[in-house]
Every structure is written in C-alpha cells, then in structure tokens.
Subunit: 117 residues, 4 copies
C-alpha cells in the first residue's frame, strides 16, 4: 500500500440497462411478471405521471418552482419520478425498445421538424 | 495516420446526461425554455403517457404483445416512449433531480417494503 | 288535505346544472375559486381519471368486471367517478360549455363518421 | 291545424340517462360493446382527459381563460369534453354506477370534511 491518491473517478451512478435488469429481477423474485403486460405497464405509467402532476396541480408558478426546497415535497417528487421511470423502463424491456436511442432519434427528427429560426 | 484498427469499443449509445444536455440546447435554441416550468412539463409528461396508453387501449393482450411486429405501430411506440422520456428528463433538469439515482433509491426502498416471500 | 296518495313520482335525482351550482357554492364558500383556472381544472381532471384507472390497472378482465361486488372497491369506484365528474363539470362552468349538449352533438357527428355497416 | 302557438317550453336538452342509452345503442349497432370492459373504458377516459389537458398545457393563464373566444379551439374543447363524458358515462353504465348521485354524495362528504371556516 502507498500514499498515492487514486485518480478521482466520478461515481457514474446507475445506468439505464442496470436499472432495467434490477427491475426485472425485482419483479421475477415476486412473481409479478405476469402482471407486466404492455397494456398494464402503459396504464401504470399514466397513473404515476398523474401522481407526479398532482404535486403541482394547485401550485402557483412560484410555488412550483420552489417545490424542491421543502424536504417532504422534494422526497415526493423524487419518489414519483422514480415510479414513472420504473414503468417506462419496464415497458421498454417488455417491448424491446431502447428508450435512450428512441429519444436520440426523436431529437434528430425534431431538429428537422422545428428548424432554428 | 496508420492502418491500425481501433480496439472494438461497443457503441454505448447516448447517456441520460447527454440527452438532458441536448434537450436543453434544443429548447434554448428555440426560446422554448420559458414554457418549461415544472407544472407545464408535468402536464406534458402526463399527456404523452396518455398518448402511449392510447396505442394499447382497445387491444387484446395478444395484440398488445405483438405491437412491435408491425413497423408502423412500432414506430409510434418508440415515438411516444421518446416523448414521455423527453418530458421526464426536462422536468428532472429543471428540478435538479437525478432520475437514475431516484429510481435506484426507490428500488432499494421497495426491496424492504415488499420482501421476497 | 286529504288521504289520497300522491301518484308515484320517481325521484329523478340531482341534475347536472344543480350539481354545477352546488360545486360553485362549495368552492365559493371556501375561497377556492382562485385555484379553479381552466388549466388547473383540466390537470385535476386528468389526475382523477388516473386514480380511477389505478383501481383497474392490475386486475384481470374477470376481476375488473367484478369490482362492484366488493363494498370497499365499489365505494372507491363511486368516489373516483365523482371526482372526475366534479372537475369536468367545474371546467365546463368556467368555460361556459354545456357538457350534455357537447356530448349529444358529438354522438351525432360520430353517427356520420362511423356509419352502421 | 291551427295558428295557436305552442306554449313556450324551454328545451331542457338531453339528460344523462338519455345520453347513456344513446351511447349504448351506438356501441351495440357497431358491435363495439366487446371492447367496453371497465379497464378499457377507464383507460380511454384517462387518454381523453389527457387530450383535453393538452389544449391548455403550454398556455399562459390569460390565454387559457380566453380559449373559448377562438372558434377552432372552442370546438376542440367541446369535442374533448364530450369524449371524456362519453367514456365516463359508458364506464358508469357497465359498472351500474349512477354518476350524478355519486357526485351528490361526494359533495355531502366533502362538506363535512372541509367545513366552511
């Protein structure tokens, strides 16, 4: 052992494929895969998006912009973001869609569709 | 220049932070950031989730499972997945939420909440 | 006064305009009208529709068809139906849309659009 | 025939039960009843609520309040209100829920739950 400092490697955090694998293992361990049809997952995604919107629905723009400065509402936002992402990724796993490539391609299409003035 | 072949690096595809940066640049170039309040983005996310659900709403489970084998409906699915992800990522950018960490933490909470039988 | 029995008049129940008036009075008494912008009401309508869908999202078709035979889930369904209708009627009040005429006209348009085979 | 004018009876417009009957006849004539499971109708309701919200999602409060003064957007609002109501009423028919009584009862519960200050 020596005193050399390890080069600073930023913790990259989890990747989308890793999260998809963990979600699949989580569901398999609980025999929940039978419920994970595309239709059910698309329903659950919409329901969770509604729960995320619910946080903001009666807020003024100022209150909405400030939602992360309160620990309880910040936790609620992160929790609902996680739920939306969880169902979106599980739907993508079931349908064999790569969500990141799908978005990259959409951005390219939109760049043609909405040219910069 | 030489003839050496580059070591085969699998194309990892776009990452979430890269897509967030591209979405921010796209909106900035068109002066659309003014519309990207948390409330508007949460609304747009819910609207797009509904459009994704619309693809499946009248299908039987068999038809829904087969949706990617038709080129036109496969394109529609990828397009709506991209829209949902785009608004989710833009909302996360505005609120400074890391969506991948939020989901990793949620999976950990769910592992305690729903222990494997 | 006499002993004659009144002819049996079925209790027609509340009408849509009566419910709209009661909802307006309820909101006014609590100074909630300031929150009842068209955008907020349309958001709340979508959120509540999601809560109604949530009841059904993991059920099999058989379980879904049977949802009213359990007192607790029957109450939950009626409660969410009421919430959806409440926000739809309040939105119609604010926008001065007659929801029943709008639907009658839509049915007429659909009769031309989808002729009986 | 004579020249007597009929007494002015205000046209009460369609009632909810009449609209429910017309929607049921419309679906039966096209053999669409097979699709009208509670789960599918709740999905369709949520999708249509999203389409109604879509009209308002990028508007300022001022623009949203003014949406009925433009003939085209007014038509779009009435059309989406009709779609939301159509699926809500069809869901109520299938589940044998009286939507107007459900709402009247909910208003009563809310009067206890949120007493006037």
């Amino acid at each position: 052992m020596n005193d050399e400092v390890e080069p600073a490697v930023p913790d990259a955090g989890p990747t989308v494929p890793e999260l998809q694998r963990r979600l699949a293992e989580f569901a398999a361990a609980r025999s929940w895969q039978q419920y994970h049809t595309p239709k059910n997952l698309a329903s659950a995604l919409t329901v969770e998006a509604g729960e995320l919107l619910e946080i903001f629905q009666w807020l003024t723009p100022e209150q909405a912009a400030d939602v992360m400065s309160d620990a309880r509402s910040a936790h609620r936002v992160r929790d609902e973001v996680a739920d939306v992402l969880a169902y979106l990724l599980q739907l993508c796993t079931v349908l064999e869609v790569d969500p990141l490539r799908a978005l990259a391609e959409k951005i390219e299409r939109n760049e043609s569709r909405f040219p910069v003035p």
